[in-house]
Symmetry: C2
DNA sequence: GCTCAATACGAACGGTGTTAGAGAAACCGA
DNA sequence: TCGGTTTCTCTAACACCGTTCGTATTGAGC
């Protein structure tokens, strides 16, 4: 096996340290809360002093931004991993359930990505693009089912975010709300089929 | 007109200063964001030094708590001021619209009361009781319409919070989502009438 | 071996919420 | 009207925060 050029090995180590910092950050954020992340604490967890972090991230917001990007990529992956059956009701249910599960399995991540309560923090355009990709994939799937009008899509997303928010604040980690997802999708399905004949595709 | 006892006048001035501080706090929070509230800034706005605030509130969280209580009382008032017509669909619509309007007319208040993103802040039991009173009033109204099962109530609140969250993040102050409220209530109404015959009361 | 960039560090700056203690002002009973 | 007491307000300070500066150390490239 060929040795990599030294340039790359250096960049590799840099990336590895970045990843290690982000892992530690997630750990803190999940146990102490999103806003409880302190650079001095974080640096301590990876065996550094606080200013050293600035060799890997431009600012604290840059760390949040990288975490946001990781979250957006994770969601994209989960959507892509959700199989399409061709049955509209089943696929709708899977889409909402995927979103709700993604939100409720990590409240800190949900807060970072969807509540946006860190003062002054906005995801960078490159990071935001990843999140947009996930939403567009969801919209494309809805469109394939025949749901194309903005009002229905708004209803759909409002239902999803509402259920996720309720679950996180009332029953984090519980399963009381997964059944609610079924109710919500049934309700939405009936509503939407009154106006649009949902298309049924062949299972792929 | 009788002079009030001096004790009371003292307490009155104390309460007036408290109110003045809270008004200034709302102003800051509405223009700069919830987490941007600083005691030194706030004290400056009411012509004090920061430590003087501690004569009126035990801590910064106590200020947030008082603001939370004001918000909860405001919601209670708005629900009580919403007239009941006796028509289930109209009353359901009014209930959601009231909640969504309350949330979206002041995003900072919404964040304080419903997103709960201030690290370490929890409303005190007395303050929380006011908020519970508003929710119970809403549940009582739903019960009068015949909506009594937990799943339907969950669906209802999920819809309301979801629409409010969407409106605040996507179109604060706009009216795009008020029509969505109508859609959502119609949808919920159809769903619920499939299982429960909504009662129709005489207008009061 | 020298050069240069990357990394790590201690010290410090301005900001935060909060506490301690001193001083002033207002109210109370006599 | 006079002490005594309570209430308010202030300055100074503490511990923490994100961040910057300047310096020392490291290690790869010529």
């Amino acid at each position: 096996m060929l040795e990599k050029p030294i340039r790359d090995r250096k960049a590799e180590r840099h990336a590895a340290t970045r990843a290690e910092i982000l892992d530690a950050a997630w750990e803190v954020v999940r146990s102490e809360g999103l806003a409880a992340l302190s650079l001095r604490d974080l640096a301590g967890k990876v065996g550094m002093q606080a200013p050293s972090l600035y060799s890997y991230f431009d600012s604290k917001h840059a760390i949040y931004d990288a975490m946001f990007a990781q979250g957006a990529r994770a969601y994209l992956e989960q959507v892509r991993a959700t199989p399409l059956t061709g049955d509209p009701l089943t696929d709708l249910r899977a889409a909402v359930r995927c979103f709700v599960r993604f939100c409720s399995e990590d409240p800190a991540r949900y807060q970072l990505m969807f509540q946006r309560t860190i003062p002054g923090f906005e995801p960078s355009p490159e990071t935001f693009a990843i999140a947009i990709e996930g939403l567009e994939l969801l919209e494309r799937r809805l469109a394939e089912l025949g749901v194309t009008d903005a009002r229905s899509i708004d209803l759909f997303t409002a239902l999803g975010t509402g259920i996720a928010a309720q679950q996180i604040s009332n029953d984090p980690g519980g399963d009381r709300w997964t059944r609610l997802v079924d109710d919500a999708v049934d309700m939405f399905f009936e509503h939407v089929t009154k106006h649009l004949p949902l298309t049924r595709r062949d299972p792929t």
